[in-house]
């Protein structure tokens, strides 16, 4: 849960319900924004333009999601935020993040990250046993921070390009590569068979509302800061996903300097 920035928040919020689901808490699937996007548009000095050939439809879906958020999710989240202290919200977020363990493990292994996979196991064990079933996050203090990966990222690491940007109804920003990734991750989530389906559904609703509550300010700020909110979210989502695929979210000194984007920083 650490990458929980306003940017990610915006992606989530703009996405409406879905993007705020448990599994989306952090890294969701990711589109190779820059590399893949730059190629099809081909503008040499244009910089990393976002590849969005289906913009007309995407904008409509985006507007729909945003209305859904404004009319349903945001008001409910505001109510929850009003009664719930911040630490409670954070703990609930921790809890659902912890449950994402199988997905993280699978994707770390599929990407050949054995060490991160092992850390994922360690983190889950520590937070479940010492962190009161995952509500607290003592693992981070022990150097076992989250190593969150999803199948969209795995495909990206394997070299699958992001393809066109795609706004899914309810679920929000995605790409042609990331959207199927959601399904794979969802199938990989272990659903305890002994727990009633209604309880699981209820838990998911709690997770969505709680997550949205944590992003209330961020979303408002993003709407104020942007002149084209659709393009803002698209750019944020694609950039963020690309960074996650390249693991640029690691601290700077440990990063390989691959993300040099000379186009972006060349003065015309």
């Amino acid at each position: 849960m650490r990458g929980r920035s306003w940017v990610l928040a915006v992606c989530l919020a703009a996405a409406g319900f879905g993007s705020v689901r448990a599994e989306d808490e952090r890294p969701r699937p990711l589109p190779g924004a820059r590399a893949a996007a730059a190629a099809p548009t081909g503008g040499a000095t244009e910089g990393p333009l976002d590849y969005d050939p289906w913009q007309r439809v995407n904008r409509k879906v985006f507007t729909f999601n945003d209305k859904l958020d404004q009319w349903v999710l945001e008001p409910v989240a505001k109510g929850w935020d009003y009664v719930a202290p911040k630490p409670i919200e954070r703990s609930i977020g921790n809890f659902f993040s912890n449950l994402r363990f199988p997905v993280n493990l699978m994707n770390n292994l599929l990407q050949g990250k054995a060490v991160d996979g092992a850390k994922t196991v360690g983190r889950f064990t520590v937070n479940t046993l010492l962190g009161v079933g995952g509500f607290l996050d003592p693992a981070s203090d022990l150097g076992l921070g989250p190593k969150e990966e999803d199948f969209g990222q795995t495909l990206g690491v394997w070299g699958v390009p992001s393809g066109p940007y795609l706004v899914l109804p309810v679920l929000g920003p995605s790409t042609v590569r990331d959207a199927p990734g959601l399904a794979v991750d969802s199938a990989a989530s272990i659903t305890p068979f002994f727990i009633d389906a209604w309880i699981l559904a209820g838990a998911q609703v709690v997770d969505v509302i709680n997550t949205r509550a944590r992003f209330l300010e961020a979303v408002t700020e993003a709407k104020e800061a942007s002149l084209d909110y659709y393009a803002f979210v698209r750019s944020a989502y694609l950039q963020r996903r690309q960074a996650l695929i390249e693991d640029r979210t690691e601290p700077l000194p440990e990063r390989t300097p691959t993300y040099e984007d000379s186009e972006l920083y060349t003065v015309p």
Binding site: S5, G93, N94, E224, A225, P253, R255, L264, P268
Partner: protein
């Protein structure tokens, strides 16, 4: 209290001394600025801004103005604007370019100014820096918001102009502000050209003013 008889005289002398000292300090400061590393620049900017925010008796307007001038002094805003408009920069007449800079600055000042009002003792720690392939420098900071999972990372990209390192991009959680605005503006420009973009900026700022009044 003992009152010296020659106040005016002494004052004048003291005044001259003060001026001389101030000049010396200025010279020293300029010299130091020339040698400040990118990391120093980010640290100093952050320190100055936090010092302003710590003054709880400042009016909202005062606080915004001070922070704005500190940030602008450490930003190469001209370069930032060119990067944001990229190839479209040449589609703007010099007058439009100048107006774009003014309007974009107002927009950023209004947006981020409002955010200052919500400042809740966040702290900034510099966690790394590195030279980029084209000679720019990236400085990475972590914004502390009290809890491990609520902290986040912000990178600053700096470029050296006239000997001084200035910020040309802000990159929270690996999302570049320059790239983001470039994408937004590209949409607007491709539909309506420079005039349309300027109009959108003006309208947004006007709306922000209303908002500020509440």
């Amino acid at each position: 209290m003992r009152i010296p008889s020659s106040i005016p005289c002494r004052d004048r002398a003291a005044g001259r001394l003060a001026v001389a000292c101030a000049l010396l300090l200025c010279a020293a400061a300029t010299d130091a600025a020339a040698q400040q590393s990118p990391r120093d620049v980010v640290q100093a900017t952050s320190d100055q801004v936090l010092a302003v925010l710590a003054q709880k008796d400042l009016s909202r307007e005062d606080r915004r103005e001070r922070v704005k001038s500190i940030v602008l002094a450490n930003t190469d805003f001209d370069t930032l604007c060119r990067l944001v408009l990229a190839r479209n920069w040449d589609r703007f007449t010099p007058e439009q370019q100048a107006e774009f800079k003014r309007e974009f600055e107002s927009h950023l000042a209004a947006t981020y100014g409002r955010r200052l009002d919500q400042y809740r003792d966040e702290k900034l720690a510099i966690v790394g820096d590195r030279k980029e392939a084209n000679g720019d420098w990236t400085v990475q900071s972590r914004i502390m918001r009290g809890g491990g999972s609520d902290d986040f990372v912000v990178d600053y990209r700096l470029r050296q102009t006239n000997g001084a390192w200035k910020v040309i991009d802000v990159i929270p959680e690996q999302v570049s502000l320059v790239a983001n605005f470039r994408s937004q503006f590209q949409e607007i420009l491709s539909n309506g050209g420079p005039e349309r973009l300027l109009q959108v900026l003006r309208e947004k700022t006007a709306k922000g003013e209303e908002f500020k009044g509440e």
